[in-house]
Symmetry: C2
Subunit: 121 residues, 2 copies
């Protein structure tokens, strides 16, 4: 993949690729947190539970599979997801939540439904 | 950004976006580790030091700036980089290194030069 005849130049090229990839990932993460902030606001507004262990387990399993296919260590993919989820939980905790008294019965029913399909992301 | 009239549908849409973004990030990470594995092999072959604190500090500062511009928490960007760097170090430690006796004087000089421009990534 890399010409080893000129290691300094090769190292610089690889470093430049890494810088580009990191910039792309940072922008992807920014967009991901835009989504989770919107989810956090929706859930808080409707008094929905912020976490769904089943969805989180499904996400972890899916990312492990994608990692294996792209030859990334699946354990690392799961560590990455855990880091992101910890941050999302921190964000959600900062959003004021609707109280049980302030939400309608239909919203309470919705909470039961949505809790089975959505996690903290 | 999101129509709050149908929260379950909105939550599902946002979850789908998150799944797409996560898939993109996993593939980006796979490509990043392809680069760092190539760097690890080059450095091991030429007996170059695997870490460069100056380059690592520069990367952290650059990612913090990119994060701020894209409205991602700069502290989170730095946590993400730390997670990746820990993994890279683990990979580099698995690559057999050239011993001091097996590398030439010119490569030793190169080591001095390259150490100032490249980090563990």
């Amino acid at each position: 993949m890399v010409d080893t005849a000129d290691p300094v130049s090769n190292l610089r090229d690889l470093g430049d690729s890494i810088d580009n990839i990191d910039a792309a990932i940072i922008h992807m993460l920014a967009e991901r947190f835009r989504c989770t902030r919107a989810i956090g606001k929706l859930k808080a507004h409707h008094g929905l539970p912020s976490r769904d262990p089943a969805r989180e387990a499904e996400q972890a399993s899916r990312l492990r599979h994608l990692a294996a296919v792209s030859k990334l260590d699946p354990d690392f993919a799961e560590k990455f997801l855990a880091l992101v989820v910890r941050e999302v939980i921190r964000h959600h905790e900062l959003v004021p939540r609707a109280t049980t008294e302030s939400i309608s019965q239909s919203e309470m029913n919705l909470a039961g439904l949505a809790a089975s399909t959505q996690s903290v992301e």
